[in-house]
Amino acid sequence: MKTTGFTAGQNASLVLLRVLIGWHFFYEGILKIYNPAWTAKGYLLSATFLQPFFRWLAGDSIIQWVDTLNIVGLLAVGAALLLGLKIRWAALGGMLLLAFYYVAHPPFPGFEQGLTEGSYWIVNKNLIELAALVVLYQFPIYASFGIENLFSRKSDNAITE
């Protein structure tokens, strides 16, 4: 065990970031699980990059697995980040999901953007959220506001290794 040496403010900021991302993932997962008609098929078929791969994922034999894994992934990552449990694993899982979303519809110049609520060039919100998860992976603050805190002998401002 070693202390992070962060101030309370720095610590709280990292926890806030973790909770917000967890919130977002979990909500997306819940919406999908309560809507049986939901499927990633349209998103995958309309991919503008690596189309053969995404079309394959959207195939009749695979799409059910893709949908299930996506929902389970969103819920697991979201719950872990919200609760403060296995943060590094959750961050990795979240990064993987976001990388898929980003690569399927990347905001590259000359690529069709479809419906977006803002204007993007190479960088969009998926990429920023992914980068935020990189930060969480590097600074997985368990201390305070996190269940993992219960299972380890750590004081405030601790970082697990």
Partner: protein, 541 residues
């Protein structure tokens, strides 16, 4: 184990609470997400239950069992070839082209779809085409060792040869009715391309011939098989739209193919084309390749926008509303986009009046009655204008997909609009039989037809050629009895309405239908048939 417990107990009460603070957050997000989704679903179900629109596919047509139906194809041009493919006969050239297309692009499913098509248990035994190249393609491609296809010089020889049970007529318009009448009188079943007839009097003669022969006649308006149109019929039956006062249909094309500038075959010559037979009753003119391959551009053989494309839109709406022949038709337009010697208009606006028609009303009795059907066409712009059926309570956008928008001033939906349960900007009903299917439609003309439900439709989410379904229905009626969806009554209404539009254009005046006498009203001494097929743009009285 013991150690962990100690850790737990060693935490202060404050630390304990902080550690578990994520749980209520998780619960809140869960609850919010579940409530949003479930509420939205409940609203949706409430609305769907209220509208109660049935989008079920039609019952499948009967079995194709028994001895094969022997078919003769009369006219193997662009459309004739497509019709034969729907029946399961593709030319060697087409198969080679599709094989190459599939190798170039593995998402091109045209060949696979053709191969998957159900066997309709038919035999192609005879062909008649005035152009040697076309007739020889049929003989070469469709003949099998035990079933050679025989070529006949004239349609009468084919009909009386005893080798066919039914014929498919895909000739220029001026030959449709004479051939169909001859075939019916010889006891054959007929599939006839649209427009059903080229003039008024033969429309009546053909109707008589069908009734007298008792044989099955199907007019080639294959969109009647489109699944979304069947849902649209239920929309009308449930009075979802209220009183429809205006129907707006359109044709927008902007390419030479769409303006009937078809290719002229290199082998075309007086030696390879029976020119006099092509002309038939049309004015005698010297051999002219352009007239032969681009016959749709002249009133002598075709009927321009009013017969060729208006009929599609008219029949699509007649299939849903069953409004029949209009009381009054006015048409105007001109030759504005293709001044190449044609005499049929390339820009045409047609208004058809139905003063006594109603789709039902949600308002006080007697307030609403009457409807205008508008057809607006240009061959010089391809901006996609949807078909709209506009009612007091809602508007239906009609294509392969159906969308219904409640009207902000609707009477029927007033309460739900007031309670904000309905937003006029968001469809209250949407029907997409395609589900998640994606189509690799390429050409502009193909897209135009596909959007109108004219190329293919869907059964159980699978793309099916609507012409195939239309042919199958015709063959089922021949084998198992029953009435085809576009029989002689529907064809009669289509032809008369189109001829009224053509006459109005040529005469620059409104044309009226006498419903009681079942006749188009002519001025004394006026020969409407002569005016309609006169090979000139306008006929001044």
């Amino acid at each position: 184990m013991k150690n962990k417990k100690n850790n737990l107990f060693n935490l202060s009460r404050r630390d304990m609470l902080k550690s578990l603070a994520g749980i209520p957050l998780l619960g809140s997000v869960w609850f919010a997400g579940a409530k949003t989704t479930v509420d939205a679903k409940r609203e949706r179900e409430f609305l769907l239950e209220k509208l109660n629109i049935k989008a079920s596919p039609p019952p499948a047509t009967g079995p194709m069992s028994g001895s094969p139906v022997r078919l003769g194809i009369i006219g193997f041009g662009i459309r004739g070839e497509q019709l034969c493919r729907a029946l399961g006969f593709a030319t060697t050239e087409w198969l080679a082209e599709m094989k190459e297309a599939t190798e170039r692009n593995r998402h091109d499913t045209r060949l696979a779809e053709f191969m998957d098509q159900e066997n309709l248990n038919v035999k192609m035994t005879a062909v008649c085409d005035v152009f040697d190249v076309n007739a020889e393609r049929v003989v070469r491609s469709f003949s099998t060792p035990d079933n050679p296809v025989k070529r006949f010089a004239t349609h009468r020889e084919l009909i009386n040869s005893g080798t066919v049970d039914a014929v498919i007529i895909a000739t220029p318009d001026h030959w449709h009715a004479p051939m169909a009448i001859d075939a019916l009188q010889a006891g054959l079943h007929v599939y006839i391309e649209k427009p059903m007839t080229h003039n008024i009097s033969e429309t009546y003669a053909l109707r008589d011939a069908v009734h007298e022969s008792g044989k099955v006649l199907q007019v080639g308006h294959q969109h009647r098989q489109t699944q979304s149109f069947l849902a649209a019929m239920d929309v009308i039956a449930k009075k979802t739209l209220g009183h429809v006062s205006l129907v707006q249909t359109n044709t927008n094309r902007n390419d030479d193919n769409g303006a009937w500038q078809y290719d002229i075959h290199e082998k075309a010559s007086p030696e390879t084309i029976d020119w006099n037979l092509f002309l038939g009753t049309a004015p005698k003119v010297p051999f002219n390749k352009e007239h032969f391959f681009r016959w749709r551009k002249w009133w002598a053989y075709g009927s321009g926008l009013s017969g060729d494309l208006l009929t599609h839109d008219y029949d699509r709406i007649n299939c849903i509303l069953k409004m029949g022949i209009p009381k009054l038709v006015t048409a105007s337009g001109g030759i504005y986009t293709h001044r190449d010697g044609r005499n049929v208009p390339d820009v045409l606006q047609v208004n058809m009046e139905y003063p006594d028609f109603s789709t039902g009303s949600s308002q006080p009795e007697g307030k609403e009655k009457g409807m205008t059907f508008v057809y607006s066409a240009t061959l010089g712009n391809q901006f996609d204008r949807p078909t709209y059926l506009m009612g007091h309570d809602a508007t239906m956008e009609l294509g392969n997909v159906i969308s219904i928008y409640a009207d902000a001033r609707s009477t029927r939906y007033a309460d739900m609009l007031k309670e904000d349960r309905i937003d006029p900007e968001i469809p209250i009903y949407q029907y997409n039989p395609m589900g998640n299917a994606t189509d690799a439609v390429t050409s502009a003309t193909a897209k135009y037809f596909a959007n109108k439900g004219l190329l293919w439709t869907y059964r159980d989410g699978k793309r099916v050629d609507s012409t195939f379904l239309h042919m199958r229905e015709w063959l089922s009626c021949i084998r198992n009895g029953g009435n085809p969806s576009c029989g002689i009554q529907e064809g009669f209404e289509e032809a008369i309405s189109a001829h009224m539009a053509g006459l109005s254009y040529k005469l620059n005046r409104a044309i009226e239908w006498d419903a009681e006498a079942q006749k188009i009203i002519a001025k004394p001494g006026e020969d409407l048939d002569a005016i309609l097929i006169a090979d000139q743009e306008k006929v001044m009285a």
